[in-house]
């Protein structure tokens, strides 16, 4: 049995157990923390920085997804500073590639779009980087549109951790980083892809979708993947 501990979140005392992440304790207590790279059941990487929290005694902000709770921890999840930072981060996401909602399959069914609404982003103050990104439609059933990719690497992780295929990985550095199939080959030529479609369902944006999807009519079933992970007892 893990030890029972008491922590405080936004001033409210909460009894919980050691070994849990701040994020999972928040979820259990209906405290909403914005996340982008986190996906229930997959290894957390702490890349999107949206779940950063203030923890008393730490001079750095800590990601709720990878930080474990400890006795007497005092956590703040929604200070004015954090809210401002989250908005700036979402603006950075939008400025990085082409995230024009009006011509996106995921319009109205997109976690990035929801996030912009949640953090109150009305416009992007930073210049758009207008990066040239490819659309790879070589796969018989699916498409990857790098313009919409936010490098959350959920697809990389679900492919490696749940499907066990490891078709996806990441190449290059900095803002030139891209998700790749096998050794940077067209998706359609992948020797590892099983065409299972798990990556499509965990993708938070319109970067991965099945052929035949039209603007604003994309269906995604992330809960199916979570269900699968739970039933298989991965992690």
């Amino acid at each position: 049995m893990p030890d029972k501990i008491t922590i405080s979140i936004n001033g409210t005392e909460i009894k919980t157990e050691e070994g849990k992440s701040i994020l999972s304790v928040c979820k259990e207590n209906d405290i909403h923390i914005p996340v982008m790279c986190h996906f229930p059941g997959l290894t957390d990487v702490g890349a999107c920085r949206l779940c950063l929290c203030e923890v008393k005694g730490y001079n750095k902000l800590l990601p709720a997804c990878t930080t474990l709770v400890a006795e007497n921890m005092e956590i703040q999840t929604h200070t004015e500073k954090l809210k401002e930072y989250r908005r700036v981060i979402v603006e950075m996401f939008f400025s990085e590639r082409n995230h024009m909602c009006s011509i996106c399959v995921a319009n109205t069914n997109c976690e990035l779009q929801d996030m912009a609404t949640e953090v109150g982003m009305q416009h992007v103050r930073f210049p758009f980087l207008n990066q040239e990104c490819a659309v790879d439609a070589s796969h018989p059933k699916y498409v990857i549109d790098h313009n919409r990719c936010i490098m959350c690497t959920r697809c990389v992780r679900v492919c490696s951790e749940v499907e066990g295929a490891h078709n996806w990985d990441v190449k290059n550095r900095g803002y030139n980083a891209r998700v790749i199939s096998d050794f940077d080959q067209p998706w359609g030529e992948s020797e590892t892809c099983t065409s299972c479609g798990k990556c499509l369902n965990v993708c938070p944006t319109g970067a991965l979708w099945a052929k035949g999807s039209v603007q604003g009519k994309l269906d995604k079933f992330p809960e199916k993947i979570t269900d699968l992970i739970e039933k298989r007892g991965i992690h």
Binding site: L61, P63, T66, E84, V88, M92, M151, G174, A177
Partner: protein
């Protein structure tokens, strides 16, 4: 080899050395090598042979002596005379004058162009006088490719002492007493780190040496590895003994071929002599070290990215905690220290922690190696006690600003550091004071700038470096550095407004506070510190753009 055999060997080597009247060290550090010191070494060996001096004059290739832009350098012991800018043709006359006739060649003495009367005993020159050499003690005096040379200067005595007359707890105690702090930049107390790894119970632990020195203008670790590889190795073995590890890795960047070659050679020699491998020096302690070569990513100097790279994965950092001391290589407790930190270990074990702690300041003990570069008369590798002020380093050791120019800023800590203006030059250099000034100690790069430098351009240069080197894992560093670089370019090119400057400042704080690893967290430092101390440079650019827009 056991303790007695080591002692005998050491005495024998010292005795043999006495047979030579003189020892000629030809610098074969990367700086001197690239200015042609190999030819000097060959010519020196040939000349000594031709003149029949082989039995009285010993010629060795050595590591870095310090004043790198004066090379190729040759040091003659025991009189400590250094000659500069030699080539193969100059060697014969030098041998004739200095060794045969015993009259130093004045015009070839070190710093002859800067000093009215250059010093025959280099130790009296201001460049060396203010320095204190602990880490670089053997650099430039022994042959880095000879384990015998190292043993002749008390090499592996610390290991022998630790294995046979001490205990891991005692060694850790001494390191704690010394108050040594990590030389990689952050300055975490080394003793506490060792103790943490020591306390974690695990079937396997690792020691990792971080030699992925990547700051532009920094070459401390390279010089140490090239000049005294056994010292670093001995530090690693001692660490392995203290924390209970059996395997070590040295992660050396691929751009340092000479360092890799010499460290590899050191490993072979140490294995042969029984300092590495099974049952080291007859004890029941076994430890071995492997080299891993970095493939050119700056971010792999960040400890968690470095560990990922050793594991064969993509070199990207992961959030801490858990720290490597708890969960490092392959999830096992791992001690990771920088080259210079390991080079400090043997002297601490030999002279004791208290004695080591007497050098430096109360909070930062010992010495620090700096790579002095930029607009300074004498650049090169220096080692000074912690707490020495920047003014002494730049004006006394470095000889001031050349060309009649005025000092403007000293940049420490490379792309993670900041620019320090004239009014703060008298601050003693240690971890805390540099942090207060918005810079960091970093690994030891120190770049001097004069009034011709535009600080917006300087900030832009370092930002460009971070844009290139960001691994792309977390959004603030991946996009934030690029946006900051674009805004800096806009300001630099005179197209910006006050709003751009405000956006830039806000962005800098967001990237600093929200990035995943040290690279992103410190990437805004050059920008923020120039904004703090040299805002007039930014204002000037904004004024220029306002004029252009009228």
């Amino acid at each position: 080899m056991n303790t007695n055999e080591l002692k005998e060997l050491s005495e024998k080597i010292v005795e043999e050395g006495k047979a030579f009247k003189k020892k000629v060290c030809v610098c074969c550090g990367a700086g001197c090598l690239s200015s042609g010191s190999e030819a000097v070494l060959e010519s020196m060996k040939q000349t000594i042979k031709d003149k029949g001096l082989e039995s009285t004059v010993q010629v060795i290739p050595s590591g870095c002596m310090g004043p790198c832009n004066q090379g190729p350098l040759v040091k003659i012991l025991p009189e400590e005379t250094i000659y500069e800018k030699l080539d193969g043709d100059a060697v014969e006359a030098l041998v004739d004058d200095h060794i045969v006739k015993d009259t130093p060649q004045e015009d070839k003495l070190l710093f002859s162009e800067y000093r009215d009367k250059p010093f025959v005993d280099s130790r009296e020159d201001p460049f060396f006088k203010r320095q204190k050499r602990i880490v670089l003690e053997n650099c430039g005096r022994i042959n880095p490719e000879s384990i015998e040379d190292y043993i002749g200067v008390n090499g592996y005595q610390a290991l022998a002492y630790a294995l046979h007359r001490s205990s891991p707890e005692h060694i850790i105690g001494e390191i704690k007493l010394s108050r040594l702090r990590g030389r990689g930049g952050a300055g975490y107390p080394t003793g506490f780190k060792w103790e943490t790894v020591y306390r974690h119970v695990a079937d396997q632990k690792y020691v990792v040496c971080n030699a992925d020195e990547g700051d532009p203008g920094a070459f401390m670790d390279r010089s140490i590895l090239e000049g005294d590889p056994h010292r670093v190795l001995e530090g690693m073995i001692l660490a392995g003994y203290a924390i209970g590890a059996t395997q070590g890795y040295a992660y050396i960047r691929g751009e340092y071929p000479a360092a890799i070659k010499r460290f590899e050679e050191a490993l072979k020699q140490a294995r042969k002599k029984g300092f590495l491998g099974r049952s080291i020096m007859g004890s029941d302690f076994s430890f071995d070290v492997e080299i891993r070569i970095g493939a050119g990513a700056f971010v792999c100097g960040e400890e968690t990215a470095l560990l990922a790279s050793i594991e064969g994965k993509r070199g990207t950092p992961r959030p801490r905690p858990p720290y490597p001391a708890e969960s490092g290589l392959w999830g096992k407790p791992t001690l990771i220290n920088n080259v210079e930190t390991f080079a400090n270990i043997a002297p601490i074990v030999i002279s004791g922690g208290t004695a080591f702690g007497e050098v430096g300041t109360p909070k930062s003990a010992g010495t620090k190696v700096f790579a002095l570069a930029g607009k300074v008369q004498i650049s090169g590798l220096i080692e000074v006690p912690m707490g020495t002020n920047l003014r002494d380093i730049i004006f006394e050791i470095g000889g001031g600003i050349p060309g009649g120019h005025k000092f403007k800023a000293a940049q420490t800590g490379g792309p993670s550091g900041g620019c320090i203006p004239e009014q703060h030059l008298d601050h003693p250099v240690d971890y805390e004071s540099l942090q207060e000034l918005g810079s960091i100690m970093g690994s030891g790069g120190l770049i001097v700038m004069d009034e011709t430098s535009d600080m917006v351009d300087v900030a832009r240069y370092f930002m460009e470096f971070c844009v290139d080197e960001s691994c792309g894992k977390c959004i603030p560093c991946r996009v934030g550095t690029k946006q900051m670089f674009d805004l800096l370019t806009k300001i630099y090119e005179g197209r910006a407004t006050d709003i751009d400057l405000a956006t830039l400042e806000q962005l800098a704080h967001v990237v600093k506070d929200t990035s995943l690893c040290g690279l992103g967290m410190s990437a805004p430092n050059p920008l923020l510190s120039t904004l703090r101390f040299f805002k007039e440079d930014y204002i000037q650019h904004l004024k220029d753009s306002a004029l252009a827009n009228v």
